[in-house]
């Protein structure tokens, strides 16, 4: 989209308020926009919006822009931002919240493997109680972009010959207990 002007009617201040009430985001409105988070972030250089700009978007209520950004899916949750923030905002937790919302409202960038991995991981753990790396990567690849598998053959072989590639599909005994705890439905 070419237009760069933002009309105030596009802002959702109420949403901003809700976000500021999430755990770890209490400091949202006290953000100085100092950029410590972005400077400390090992991935900000690849992001479409730096973490600081995400905060700016969120607190001004530009929901769509924030939720459809690549940024939130690039966050590796290393918490570097959190320990550098002079306002002690848990930026990482803010990102988690945005990821969850982006998933629910299907606003995440299509063909991005990260959300797919998250979903597959989630479902696998809910179905079996544990994750099995091999099957997980396989499903992620198949559901996002099968070609990544080609790039992985070398690594796969290395792992296999060093006995680090387990084909076992893990499953816990207490599945019923787990379901009672977390429920049974899975993410689409």
């Amino acid at each position: 989209m070419l237009r760069t002007i933002k009309f105030q009617r596009e802002a959702e201040p109420e949403w901003a308020r809700q976000v500021s009430e999430r755990p770890g985001c209490e400091g949202l409105f006290s953000c100085l926009q100092c950029g410590s988070c972005s400077g400390a972030c090992p991935l900000s250089i690849y992001m479409d919006y730096t973490p600081r700009r995400i905060i700016a978007l969120v607190r001004e209520g530009f929901r769509k822009d924030a939720l459809s950004s690549m940024t939130i899916w690039l966050c590796a949750s290393c918490y570097s931002c959190a320990v550098h923030c002079p306002r002690q905002i848990r930026v990482t937790d803010l990102m988690y919240g945005l990821k969850r919302e982006a998933m629910q409202s299907h606003l995440y960038p299509a063909h991005l493997p990260a959300p797919v991995l998250a979903r597959e991981f989630y479902n696998m753990v809910r179905r079996r109680g544990r994750s099995s790396e091999f099957w997980l990567v396989l499903r992620m690849a198949l559901k996002s972009n099968p070609f990544v598998l080609l790039g992985m053959t070398r690594t796969g072989w290395d792992l296999f010959r060093t006995g680090r590639l387990s084909l076992k599909r893990e499953r816990i005994k207490g599945m019923s207990e787990l379901r009672a705890l977390v429920g049974r439905e899975v993410a689409r």
């Binding site: 755990p23 090992p42 991935l43 690849y46 570097s80 969850r100 994750s131 790396e133 990544v148 680090r164």
Partner: protein, 300 residues
Amino acid sequence: MNPYGYFPGCSLRATGVAYEESLLTLFRLLDLPLEELRDWNCCGATSYMSIDEESAFQLSARNLALAHKAECRDLLAPCSACYLVLRKTQDYVERYPAIGKRVKESLAAANLPVLDGVRVRHPLEVLYTDVGVERIRSRVVRKWSGGRVACYYGCQIVRPFEEVDRAHNPTRMDELLGAIGAPTVEYPLKTACCGGALTGTMHPIGVRMNYILLKEAVRKGAQAIVTVCPLCQYNLDAYQSEIRGKTSTPVDMPILYFTQVLGWALGADAESLGLKRAISGRKFLEQWFSKETQEAEAYV
């Protein structure tokens, strides 16, 4: 003494199997009893948290409840992701009454005990505080025969909870390795991020992050990197060949677990430390941890 509860986590049963092998060996050598948590479930890691926070906490709640049921005071989580998620769950349950309430309710629904009194801990911190640098030093039976190493702490054991070590410039691993005579280098990226799952989801970016870590280690004169997390170890270990192919850095260095290095110094053999499972820097590993050195460098 009553044993430490042990939460392996999924990785230590796959790509990180060497971590489990060396950890168990090391703890045996130090006569520290470990008891695996019965029927533990996945910690949920970062991905699960990205879909559903509440049930992410419930997942960890089950593990904590199991630990509580097994009456273990300390729950060991060697994987940084597991450590953080379990610790974070405790923290949020405690700091946010709403979350605490929901978690406790769901535990009751699964008739599990409420979680309390369990301390989530990382082996690095256990070795540093419970065992101590001096006791490690006194137990050394084998001189370090390897090269200079860079201690790499990664992210989630020092951030945001500064309980395993300081968030800025942690030094506990350096001190422990110092005690067994392994020369460590000043490594400014010791708490930088390895990219985690990005090597899988956004491959080029993930690999580049590890390229930066390796390059700086080389620049600082390190011949190996020592890690505390299965994912860090995997990322740094598995993609070196790819990096060699794509960059001018002819890097081929061993990526070890701190448990392997300590275990070797305390007399364990390469097999039981999973040293054969390395992908990169194998030639160094063969020199450093060969039968000969086992004999030659042995004290007495």
